[in-house]
């Protein structure tokens, strides 16, 4: 792909954090920025979709499963996989591990409370 037109120099990718709880979202963004990622934020799935449509630089979506609104994190994840197949997905939940079939392929699940080391490992796997 070296001759591809949209080739860009290697850099830390942009991560979209989707989390309805502001404190947790803030903490998570803090963690990711510390780790050197560019971070975008959304408080629910609908907002996340709007951002995804306007920000083609987003490479990874990190979404909470349990969110109010028209769509929870799993449905968002499925939609993202459907509409933007290259985008990598990490889902988190305090509700225990979701059924395997409900998580899109090639995505990672991390239980809450988050292990920061694990978050970083997951992100680096996708960058």
């Amino acid at each position: 792909m070296a001759h591809s037109l949209d080739y860009k120099p290697q850099q830390a990718p942009t991560v979209l954090v989707v989390e309805d709880e502001p404190l947790q979202r803030m903490s998570l963004m803090d963690l990711l920025e510390e780790a050197g990622y560019t971070v975008a934020e959304a408080s629910d799935a609908d907002q996340a979709l709007i951002i995804l449509e306007s920000r083609p630089d987003i490479r990874i979506v990190l979404a909470d499963v349990d969110m109010p609104g028209s769509m929870d994190g799993l449905r968002l994840a499925a939609l993202v996989r459907d509409r933007w197949p290259p985008i990598e997905i990490i889902v988190t939940s305090g509700r225990g591990i979701p059924q395997l079939a409900t998580i899109p392929a090639r995505s990672i699940f991390l239980p809450k409370p988050l292990n920061e080391q694990r978050v970083k490992e997951a992100l680096s796997l996708f960058s």
Partner: protein, 644 residues
């Protein structure tokens, strides 16, 4: 069959007195007279008070009193008696037969020795004395003739006995409760049994089979029944081929009734069978077995939908029905949402939403909370005008039994027969019983499900709270703590979360020690470098929390200073249960290998204190800083670990 009357001995067994003359005996006496050249010959049989002549020649007397009987002496002495001149013998000189008419003078008699004793004599008699008596050849002939008389007597006795036996058997067959028939095998060209013809049936036949006995004789199986069932032909064929009785408990498919009995080969391609209708016994046994099977299903199956569908299969089979399923009622009992349930092959699918009013006037019964019991939808006044829907489902005999939840009818158990069915009170009672059990099981499952949901919600909130604490701490302490201190804090929170995960996943609200250790090691990315072994051990919630923190601290220390701080180092973690004074102790060993030399840390921080609490906060900790690495053991009461 036992004959209650005592055995008859002697002459009475022959039942011969006062019978008509018979040619056999007559011929023998005339032969005797001829051979011995006497005028008279008799077969005299001695009764209690008389002698009676079964055959006689040369005399018109047919019997005399015992006092006139000379043959009586033959019987008494059981040997040939010959008196050359009766007037000269003291035994006979006063005998009226001698002194008066017919004034007999010569007598020779041989005993009639039967297997039952000597019963009389064959005698030749003359009216002139015979000096010198019989010739030896005449005597010999007389003996032989007497044997022939005995043979005739025996023949008679045997044939009478046979006749009596036959009569007894016949009356038994006529009177017995079991059905009976005698039949002749009918075979095809290849010699295979294909049908049979009824030659004889007993009165009970009609009661068991329902076909009048007079319609049966001479008719074939194929003519009497709707279709020939190969398993019945097979039974008869087996009895005929093996020449052995063949017992059976088998169902007539055409009528659905069960019979128990035996086929008996009787020779020359004839056979008989005795049988009785055991449908109600079989049904009772099926129901009993069904209740046990139902108990298992209701006890073992956790998922409500699966439990119900398995229960329906048990119920359908126990009643030998064609379909058994379950439907949930709407609030007003206007419609029912029916599950597929269980059905025999060939029954149309039933799953779907049904409106009661399309199937007759059913709601009245159902609203009253009663079971809807219909013998035949074509004749029941509630359904006969709306039978189309029923027939499309192949349902003729129908029962709907309400299932309640919180005292309200929420569902129906539906059992269908494709033929009309006379529901017995036992069946209806049994179905109510089954419905009650189902209700209880469903209620229990619903309570379990609610509990699981509540537990899940609590766990979720706990994890979220930990996540919030983590976020708050991160934002609050970002400048106050070093990066390392902060991450130690987050990791401790994490390990508490791990203990929670396991506690809430487990049905018994316990965490399995091996899983807990493995999860913490995985979080620290060192799982592959540790060996874990030990029996399955469940930890109570407090023990899970404190053990999680302990293992986390041990792991962190190993990563920072111990064996896991170098690539080749590893940790062996094992545990076992040991007997102690108070009961049993769980002992957990932590063995570090291949790491740098270790020494006891001088400064005891919070981590060291956490470790010193041990498995359940009561100590029991032994730490040895040895050359090859840290070796630690943690001991605590096993009972407390499981319970707290």
């Amino acid at each position: 069959m036992v004959d209650k009357t005592p055995p008859v001995l002697g002459i009475e067994a022959y039942e011969i007195f006062d019978t008509l003359p018979e040619r056999g005996y007559d011929d023998l006496v005339s032969l005797a007279a001829q051979i011995c050249t006497t005028k008279i010959a008799v077969v005299s049989l001695i009764d209690k008070d008389r002698q009676w002549f079964k055959a006689r020649i040369g005399t018109s007397l047919c019997q005399t009193g015992l006092e006139s009987s000379i043959c009586r002496f033959v019987v008494d002495e059981d040997c040939l008696i010959e008196i050359e001149d009766l007037t000269a013998d003291p035994r006979t000189s006063q005998n009226p037969l001698v002194t008066e008419q017919p004034e007999i003078r010569f007598y020779a008699g041989v005993p009639l020795r039967t297997p039952l004793g000597t019963v009389g004599a064959l005698a030749v008699i003359d009216d002139v004395p015979r000096h010198g008596g019989l010739l030896p050849s005449q005597r010999e002939a007389l003996e032989k003739l007497s044997s022939l008389v005995v043979d005739l007597l025996e023949l008679r006795r045997r044939s009478t006995a046979l006749g009596a036996t036959r009569k007894r058997w016949r009356s038994l067959i006529q009177a017995m409760d079991e059905g009976y028939f005698l039949a002749q095998a009918l075979r095809d060209e290849a010699g295979r049994l294909r049908d049979w013809a009824y030659l004889e049936v007993n009165p009970a036949w009609e009661r068991h089979v329902g076909i009048p006995a007079d319609a049966v004789i001479g008719a074939t199986y194929a003519a009497l029944f709707p279709f020939i069932e190969s398993d019945w032909i097979a039974l008869a064929a087996k009895a005929l081929e093996t020449e052995q009785p063949v017992s059976f408990v088998q169902r007539v498919k055409a009528t659905g009734r069960w019979y128990e009995g035996t086929f008996y080969p009787v020779g020359q391609d004839y056979f008989s069978a005795t049988f009785k209708d055991v449908t109600s016994q079989i049904a009772a046994r099926n129901r009993q077995d069904g209740l046990i099977a139902l108990g298992d299903v209701l006890h073992d199956e956790r998922d409500i939908a699966t439990m119900i569908s398995q229960a329906m299969a048990v119920i359908g089979k126990a009643l030998c029905a064609d379909r058994a399923t379950y439907g949930e009622l709407d609030h007003d009992i206007e419609t029912i949402t029916v599950a597929e349930g269980w059905a025999l092959p060939g029954m149309p699918p039933i799953k779907g939403l049904y409106r009661f009013d399309d199937y007759g006037r059913l709601r009245e019964t159902l609203l009253a909370g009663e079971a809807l019991v219909i013998t035949d939808i074509l004749t029941d006044e509630r359904t006969r005008d709306d039978s189309t829907g029923w027939l499309a489902l192949k349902a003729r005999g129908v029962i709907n039994v309400p299932v309640r939840e919180d005292g309200r009818n929420v569902a129906l158990m539906l059992v269908h027969f494709c033929m009309p069915h006379d529901w017995t009170s036992e069946e209806i009672h049994w179905l109510h019983n089954a419905a009650d059990r189902l209700e209880l099981a469903i209620a229990r499952r619903r309570a379990d499900e609610l509990q699981i949901m509540i537990n899940g919600e609590i766990a979720h909130r706990l994890r979220n709270t930990l996540a919030m604490v983590q976020a708050v701490a991160r934002m609050t302490l970002r400048d106050a703590l070093s990066k390392e201190e902060a991450s130690r804090f987050y990791e401790r929170l994490q390990s508490l979360g791990r203990a929670h995960d396991l506690l809430h996943c487990d049905e018994q609200r316990a965490a399995v020690l091996g899983d807990l250790i493995a999860n913490i090691l995985r979080d620290a990315s060192v799982f592959e470098r540790c060996q874990i072994s030990g029996p399955v051990m469940r930890l109570g919630s407090r023990a899970a929390m404190s053990t999680a923190l302990l293992i986390h601290e041990m792991t962190t220390n190993a990563c920072k200073h111990g064996a896991l701080s170098v690539p080749e180092g590893q940790v062996v973690i094992s545990w076992q249960v040991e007997a102690s004074q108070a009961g049993n102790d769980l002992v957990l060993f932590w063995q570090e290998q291949g790491g740098p030399p270790v020494s006891e840390p001088t400064k005891g921080g919070f981590g060291a204190r956490l470790i010193s609490f041990g498995l359940i906060g009561t100590g029991g900790v032994s730490l040895r800083y040895e050359q090859e690495g840290l070796s630690a053991s943690f001991r605590a009461d096993a009972e407390k670990i499981m319970r707290t």
